[in-house]
């Protein structure tokens, strides 16, 4: 009994620094932002804060430009993550195959895009897309005799920034896929081989259940990350032309640090936080319970 009390005391002492850190850096700012979201507050104007209740949220939800950015952001997330899953898993299965030679050289090259700073990737692609001297337009001119204004024309800007995200993060999904495939029990694969299961049945009943947790985690991480994409789009298009690439994180930045409309920006930040929490909850629902993992 005395030993248990002693251990409990020490457990709390060890946890204390982390708890203090969590409260100081996560909980307090979060509550602070939540509080500010109920006020009309502009940090530069010098006007004292005025309590508005839920008005900041209501004005946000009644703003059709907010919904427009919401649509752009969701389209961005859905299309980018879907393409990254498809390409990433194709690459993952390819590199898991015993038939591929030179894996040790090719894998680091494959993972290089996600190791580059997003701002650098954005600038790099801005140059590549340039209608005058960008390499993509060079080849388009050479082979098809056309020039596409990727970042300048409204119809091209969105797919152009989306392509950069897919280029950067498909390797991440490939990595997740490879990690999942390592976890597939060899004896089950051998049993499937003996039973002469088709490729699809083997994938459905043996491979997929094993990789499902990693697969779901990969989707969650990419979804949250794509949802808060800012840097690549900021350096490539600044949200333009017009607002074709204006995602929510960019609106948040403008609201908070260009307009210093701190109250309304806080309400948008809280809305975005709840959307991220919703993603996480969906993930927690989808992730298999311990018992379900047993095949």
């Amino acid at each position: 009994m005395r030993r248990e009390t002693y251990l409990t005391q020490w457990r709390w002492r060890f946890l204390l620094p982390v708890l203090v850190f969590m409260v100081a850096w996560n909980l307090v700012p979060l509550l602070w932002v939540l509080g500010m979201s109920f006020y009309k507050l502009n940090l530069v104007s010098g006007i004292p804060p005025r309590y508005l209740g839920l008005n900041n949220y209501l004005s946000l939800l009644n703003d059709r430009y907010f919904w427009d950015r919401f649509r752009i952001t969701f389209s961005y997330v859905l299309i980018a993550v879907f393409l990254e899953i498809v390409i990433g898993f194709a690459l993952g299965f390819l590199f898991d195959s015993q038939d591929v030679r030179g894996k040790k050289i090719m894998l680091p090259i494959l993972f290089a895009p996600m190791m580059i700073a997003p701002v650098a990737s954005g600038v790099f692609f801005r140059f590549m897309y340039d209608p005058h001297w960008g390499i993509i337009n060079y080849f388009l001119r050479k082979f098809f005799g056309i020039t596409i204004q990727f970042l300048e024309e409204a119809r091209w800007a969105f797919p152009a920034v989306l392509a950069v995200d897919v280029w950067m993060w498909s390797p991440f999904m490939a990595l997740m896929c490879l990690a999942g495939l390592q976890a597939v029990p060899t004896h089950l694969l051998e049993a499937a081989e003996i039973d002469r299961l088709s490729w699809w049945l083997r994938f459905r009943h043996v491979v997929f259940p094993a990789i499902r947790p990693v697969f779901t985690l990969g989707i969650l991480l990419r979804t949250i990350d794509a949802f808060k994409t800012f840097d690549t789009i900021f350096v490539m298009t600044g949200g333009g032309p017009g607002n074709t690439t204006e995602v929510l994180s960019m609106s948040l930045y403008r609201m908070a640090f260009i307009f210093f409309n701190t109250g309304k920006a806080s309400s948008l930040a809280i809305v975005m936080l709840f959307i991220s929490i919703a993603f996480t909850s969906i993930y927690l629902m989808l992730i298999p319970k311990q018992g379900e993992r047993e095949v």
């Binding site: 502009n42 530069v44 005058h132 204004q149 949200g239 333009g240 032309p241």
Partner: protein
């Protein structure tokens, strides 16, 4: 005994060194200026700082160390506003854009200068010696009042850079006359009387995509205020306006027929510009001109220097700077109302060196400092200097800079300036890039959204 004597001497020397260092430290003042990165006139303020040090040592009895911090236009407001919001003394003087005067003055972040100007005869004389357009743009908030918050660091306006060599080329002149039936404009005076209808023919003539050469380059970028400067200039030149300056009503003004026509015309000019011009900002315009890719560009007088620098420009000796075209009304009169550029500097209310900051600004408006600024390529504002032929002939853009001041206009100086601006930037670039199909929709959107902002801030009363 001997040891004690040595110790006494050591202590005496240490005391002497300490007292000298303290005395020196007390006399040396560090002034911190926040300026615009990559913007030549801002950088000149730092370049000329040693002259102020000489002046201060000689006339004011202290020496100054001026340190500067820079942020590009797009990040400057964020940096300045964050420092002000935190009541930081990080900067004594901030070079701001004129449109920010309302936000910073109503927030109590910057010093009101009326008393200072009234109490100092030399500064008062300098202020009276400026164009009223400059006082209104760089010093005043609320608009139309006599409350001064800033002083002009540099003046600036939109001017037109054109290829003089092509205009003088006999073959080009003959071909142009054969095609259009009149002569190419050639002199500064020809351009003074030029309207957009005529100039459009000139840029159409020089648009030769097969040679990767185009007639014109202007700003259409969503970044900062790039497209707004130009569209607003066209609206004013076409005879329209952006707001009712008394009631803050926007609907019916911003989306008036004449304003819509001006926007349509400005976007139509893209057909004479290089591919990708819809994202051009200042740098791209200067670059297109300096690299010989365009016949003309409509951009700021303050940034013309690289075009005339042989190390940076392929056309350094082939360019002349003229007044941009005007719009001819039904009576044949030419209207030319373009946006003023330039920036004021303001003194931070949180500065610990206000006296020295004031001394610095007073010095800036002395003839010596203004001439030094002009000789380095800056645009001073004192009329006894800029109205002289000596100044007008000093740099290639000076004459057009001075001639464009009368009638020049500025943005609103309201505290909600950034929000009003973003609406224009979004809607106008959406129209220019094809996201919005017609100019009327873009203008209706601007009017509606700006009225919502003005109502929320309490300026527009229904």
């Amino acid at each position: 005994m001997r040891k004690k004597g040595i110790w006494a001497v050591v202590c005496l020397v240490a005391l002497l060194v300490w007292s000298v260092s303290v005395a020196t430290a007390q006399e040396k003042v560090t002034l911190r200026i926040l300026g615009i990165g990559g913007w030549y006139p801002s950088e000149l303020a730092l370049k000329l700082a040693p002259l102020f040090n000489e002046y201060a040592e000689k006339n004011l009895g202290y020496s100054v160390d001026i340190k500067a911090d820079f942020a590009p236009f797009t990040a400057l407001y964020e940096k300045a506003a964050a420092a002000f919001a935190a009541h930081s003394d990080a900067y004594d003087i901030v070079i701001v854009d004129s449109q920010w005067l309302g936000a910073f003055s109503t927030g109590g972040h910057i010093m009101q200068l009326n008393e200072l100007i009234e109490s100092d005869p030399k500064l008062k004389e300098a202020v009276e010696n400026m164009y009223p357009e400059h006082r209104a743009a760089y010093m005043t908030y609320p608009d139309g009042s006599d409350q001064y918050w800033g002083l002009p660091q540099e003046g600036d306006d939109l001017v037109l850079y054109v290829r003089k060599d092509l205009l003088e080329d006999p073959t080009e002149r003959a071909n142009f006359k054969a095609k259009y039936g009149f002569d190419l404009p050639q002199t500064y005076e020809d351009f003074r009387n030029l309207d957009w209808e005529t100039f459009e023919k000139v840029i159409e003539f020089f648009t030769r995509p097969d040679q990767n050469f185009y007639g014109f380059a202007a700003e259409y970028s969503k970044e900062y205020d790039f497209i707004s400067d130009h569209v607003m200039s066209f609206i004013w030149t076409w005879g329209g306006d952006i707001i009712d300056w008394n009631t803050y009503k926007v609907d019916g003004i911003m989306n008036s027929d004449v304003a819509i026509e001006a926007l349509e015309y400005y976007v139509k000019l893209l057909r004479y510009q290089p591919p990708g011009a819809v994202t051009y900002g200042i740098d791209q315009c200067i670059n297109a001109m300096a690299q010989g890719q365009v016949f003309s560009t409509l951009t700021w007088a303050a940034v013309g220097k690289p075009i005339f620098d042989p190390a940076l420009s392929k056309v350094a000796d082939k360019v002349m700077v003229v007044m941009p075209p005007g719009k001819r009304d039904k009576d044949g009169n030419l209207r030319r109302v373009y946006c003023l550029g330039g920036q004021p500097w303001v003194i931070s209310n949180y500065s610990k060196h206000k006296k020295e900051a004031i001394d610095f600004l007073k010095w800036w408006y002395t003839d010596e400092a203004q001439w030094a600024f002009a000789k380095e390529g800056g645009n001073p504002v004192i009329r006894t200097i800029i109205d002289t032929e000596e100044f007008k002939n000093l740099n290639p853009w000076n004459r057009a800079y001075v001639d464009m001041i009368p009638g020049g206009r500025d943005f609103w100086h309201l505290p909600c300036y950034a929000e009003l601006l973003l609406v224009q930037q979004e809607e106008w670039t959406a129209y220019a890039s094809g996201q919005i199909k017609d100019a009327k929709t873009a203008m209706d959107n601007v009017a509606r959204r700006q009225e919502e902002i003005l109502r929320e801030w309490g300026f527009l009363k229904d």
